[in-house]
């Protein structure tokens, strides 16, 4: 099949950026979306033009490196799927595809489709951990964890830190990401001692990073490739409230 791509090109953070149109010819249905871009890029390179910069690594939907908005949807049209796992059998000959970077104040564009997401790391550094000095841990079975709690924590821990939730949110809020990390750790007995501090510190950092606030749109959950539920946001709010009360009281 042959496709027409409209790709956001932006040479640097200061460049204003623009859409540039490319023809993607002889695309095969079995290709992944990123392999389709590879072929376009190799063609550009052969002609001595600079290829489209986009970030990616594992191409298995687990590292969270890839991310672009495809026809208005973060990671493209497939549910629970990162853009690296999207395959071209989704498209038909003659389709037009619009490709843009994540757009959010918390994620400045570095080049073309590559954005700076180090803000998410700083949120984790603020409190997204359990302090457990190496070598000090008790036997792993010393504290039983009910299966249901472990599973729920695992649901939250499946977040890959891609930032699609931020890109999807009309306020560019990082609430889904932050709540997933808070929930993962706060749901486990091991995470309880630092529970209150964790939620307050992480939320403060999130606010310091130019992310907008959450107004319960739920667009984040729809865009999330890992099915992270907005229920975790409710959990965060509950933990935050009780931590704030605990602090003032």
């Amino acid at each position: 099949m042959n496709l027409t791509l409209h790709v956001w090109r932006q040479a640097s953070p200061d460049d204003r950026g623009r859409f540039v149109t490319y023809e993607a010819l002889d695309v095969e249905a079995h290709m992944s979306f990123l392999e389709m871009l590879d072929v376009v890029n190799e063609g550009l390179e052969e002609r001595g033009e600079e290829p489209i910069a986009f970030d990616h690594d594992c191409r298995e939907g687990i590292c969270g490196t890839c991310g672009m908005v495809v026809n208005g949807r973060p990671h493209g049209p497939w549910k629970r799927t990162t853009v690296c796992q999207l395959h071209m059998r989704e498209y038909r000959d003659g389709d037009d595809i619009w490709i843009e970077p994540w757009r959010a104040a918390g994620f400045p564009v570095i080049r073309d489709l590559v954005v700076d997401r180090t803000s998410l790391d700083r949120i984790v550094a603020a409190g997204g951990f359990i302090s457990a000095r190496t070598g000090s841990a008790p036997d792993a079975n010393a504290i039983p964890v009910p299966k249901a709690h472990a599973e729920r924590a695992m649901d939250a821990a499946s977040c890959i830190g891609c930032g699609a939730c931020v890109a999807a949110c009309p306020n560019a809020s990082a609430m889904l990401f932050t709540s997933a990390k808070v929930a993962h750790l706060n749901l486990l007995p091991q995470g309880r001692p630092e529970k209150a501090m964790r939620v307050i510190d992480m939320v403060l950092q999130m606010e310091a990073e130019n992310f907008g606030s959450c107004t319960n749109h739920g667009a984040c959950e729809t865009a999330c490739p890992k099915d992270i539920s907005v229920d975790f946001i409710a959990l965060l709010n509950r933990d935050y409230l009780s931590a704030a009360v605990g602090r003032s009281g």
Binding site: S12, E28, A29, H30, E35, D38, E42, E45, E50, P51, D55, H56, D57, C58, R59, E60, G61, I62, C63, G64, T65, T81, Q85, H87, I110, R111, R117, T118, L120, D121, V124, A125, A126, G127, G128, F129, I130, S131, R133, T134, G135, S136, A137, P138, D139, A140, P144, V145, P146, K147, A150, A153, M154, A157, S158, G161, H184, L185, L188, Q190
Partner: protein, 637 residues
């Protein structure tokens, strides 16, 4: 090159304790004055950086990723081994040790493997304390499964995302130290060279992937946790950015490279679908616990799998290896799949595939149970192939996956360059000629949490020198070297893309230094690679400039190093006139087609020393001695 393995004396079970007692300690008050550079933030690098900072050292951690959490360890699916014996099925430290030495086909160091088995239990404790949500039983205790040919259930797992969860644990520990200022994190900086001063590793030179700036960094010691080199094959299960540059640059500065030809081909990956293929996707080995592998009994049987009756199917692993069946080690499973396809029994449009069938397991346990165990893997398979594995068998084929070879290290994890320590997949230790499933995560974390942080103290206590001025001639000289190499790459303006050269190298390596190797094939590759390397430097092209994010330049610098490594791998494979583990020389096989070792001639690690651009590398040997596990012909019949 002197190879002193520094294996402590005494009975194997006491070596590590004894060694810890004998190591020199650094005065706690002085630790913050000592600076350690850690390159890599995978399981090995992140756990080491976090623990070193906890101990009080000043640490700087580098990664070419935008976040430490993206290191390739994140992709590990199946699980991590530990000799906890929580299932009471007869496991022990000694059994894990024994299995690992045997699984590695008697080409690893006994003392290291024993220590690894000992520390495996501490890793699980540590991970659980950090909040790693391992699978649990209804009673709240940790669940286990058997994995990768083990006959006991010693594998801990977090759905099909064990690497992700372990890495997030280490990453969070690291970020805590970053938050408190104990670790300086330097993402998007790629190491391009190692700085030596008076023969000791004292720093690195990096290129900033966003600004293009080339900078030097100095320290008391350097740690590489930079992962494996399977991408020399172009197509592999590794992430797209995995590369050998850090290890290769260290090799060129004097670090011995051990057993480069020991690579692992994983039996269960999704087959190649076309020329545009950019990487291969692993389907976790755990699938072999419930999936049955077969091919049609009649070569060229073009019917759909579900139309082929049981009588017309050949469950060849069950037939050939009645006691291990589908759970034989990776090297065997891979080679048998290749044999089947070579003989014309392969399935799928390319004929390079075999079936992995869950119909019986679904019948026995129900679809729900299978979904709970492997749901995410099945989903991934369907996304990639468009086929539903609940309704029809998966198609799988072997693919390059892991590299047992790497920089040689002693018992302290120090390379042949004093001060340069190497951890995780980047070193050569522990797995011999074949790695068992669920043991790389274990090794990376044992190295990073529990070994390196102590052994590096011994080095620092003995050797810490004066701080090095940024204008020291050895620093400035190394920076200049990186600048001129980068300029040379940027000036390349030929007709070939960097990708096309990498693809060609990959095919050469796969055909001649892949699953089965012959002297003739290896010689062919050894002739072609140097000319391909010349073509790269003369006829490839790098578009774009050096002062911005330039992904073509990044790839070109990595491919240039693969073009040198590939040659060394073939040389090593040619020199090793035996078959062992993943290294299969067709000239050396038993009548049944199994790997035939030559213990009299090759019971050693081959450690290659770099001698210059125009001269051949020199092979040194570390003899291996087996006091506890007597080498035998592996048999999985």
């Amino acid at each position: 090159m002197k190879l002193d393995s520094r294996i402590p004396s005494g009975p194997i079970a006491q070596k590590w304790d004894q060694h810890k007692f004998e190591m020199k300690l650094v005065n706690p008050a002085n630790k913050r004055k000592h600076h350690v550079i850690v390159v890599g933030s995978g399981l090995a690098g992140a756990s080491a950086a976090a623990t070193l900072a906890e101990l009080g050292y000043a640490v700087t951690c580098f990664t070419y990723h935008d976040s430490p959490r993206r290191a390739h360890s994140i992709a590990a699916q199946g699980g991590i081994n530990a000799a906890k014996n929580y299932q009471g099925d007869g496991d022990s430290i000694y059994r894990l040790f024994y299995d690992t030495v045997k699984g590695g086909d008697f080409r690893s160091r006994e003392a290291n493997v024993y220590r690894l088995a000992q520390l495996s239990v501490n890793i699980i404790d540590q991970a659980v304390a950090q909040g790693v949500p391992f699978a649990r039983e209804y009673g709240g205790m940790l669940a286990n499964r058997s994995f990768g040919g083990a006959q006991v259930s010693r594998t801990f797992y977090a759905r099909g995302q064990t690497g992700q969860q372990l890495l997030l644990g280490a990453y969070q520990a690291l970020m805590k130290q970053v938050g408190s200022g104990a670790v300086r994190l330097r993402p998007m900086k790629e190491m391009h060279d190692l700085i030596l001063v008076d023969g000791h590793a004292r720093g690195i030179v990096t290129r900033d992937l966003i600004s293009g700036e080339i900078e030097s960094w100095t320290a008391d010691a350097v740690v590489l946790g930079t992962g494996g080199y399977s991408n020399v094959f172009y197509l592999s299960t590794n992430a797209m950015k995995c590369n050998v540059t850090a290890a290769w640059r260290a090799h060129k500065r004097g670090a011995g490279f051990a057993n480069p030809c020991f690579t692992q081909i994983h039996p269960t990956c999704i087959p190649v679908s076309g020329e545009y293929q950019s990487k291969l996707t692993l389907m976790s080995e755990s699938l072999r616990n419930d999936g049955r592998i077969w091919v049609p009994r009649n070569a060229g049987d073009g019917r759909a799998p579900n139309e082929i009756s049981a009588a017309d199917r050949d469950y060849y692993l069950e037939r050939m290896y009645p006691s291990f069946g589908n759970l034989v080690p990776r090297d065997l499973a891979s080679r048998r799949a290749k044999d089947m396809c070579d003989d014309g029994y392969g399935v799928g449009s390319s004929g390079r595939g075999v079936y992995l069938d869950f119909a019986d397991a679904i019948e026995r346990l129900g679809e729900e149970a299978i979904r709970e165990r492997y749901g995410n893997l099945f989903e991934m398979y369907e996304r990639i192939t468009g086929e539903n594995p609940y309704g029809q068998p998966m198609r799988i084929y072997p693919a390059p996956h892991y590299t047992m070879g790497g920089l040689w290290v002693d018992y302290n994890l120090m390379s042949t360059i004093p001060g340069l320590h190497v951890i995780g997949e980047a070193n050569f230790s522990d797995h011999g000629a074949n790695r068992l499933g669920a043991s790389a995560l274990m090794q990376g974390l044992a190295d990073g949490y529990f070994i390196l942080p102590y052994t590096i103290g011994d080095y620092i206590a003995r050797h810490a020198g004066d701080p090095i001025a940024p204008d020291h001639p050895d620093v400035a000289g190394t920076v200049e070297g990186v600048k001129s190499r980068t300029a040379r790459l940027l000036a390349m303006d030929g007709n070939r893309t960097v990708e096309s050269v990498h693809r060609e190298l990959g095919r050469l390596m796969w055909d001649n230094c892949g699953m089965a190797r012959t002297a003739t094939g290896l010689r062919t590759a050894l002739e072609r690679i140097p000319t391909l390397r010349e073509e790269f430097w003369e006829d490839a092209k790098v578009v774009g400039g050096g002062g911005t994010l330039n992904q073509v330049l990044e790839r070109a610098a990595r491919v240039a190093d693969f073009l040198e490594l590939g040659e060394l791998m073939c040389r090593d494979a040619l020199a090793r006139e035996e078959s062992c583990g993943g290294h299969f020389r067709e000239e050396h096989q038993t009548p049944e087609g199994e790997a035939k070792r030559n213990d009299d001639g090759f019971s050693h690690a081959s450690v290659w020393g770099y001698t210059g651009e125009d001269s051949a590398p020199v092979e040194h040997r570390e003899p291996l001695e087996f006091e506890y596990v007597t080498p035998s012909q592996r048999s999985y019949k």
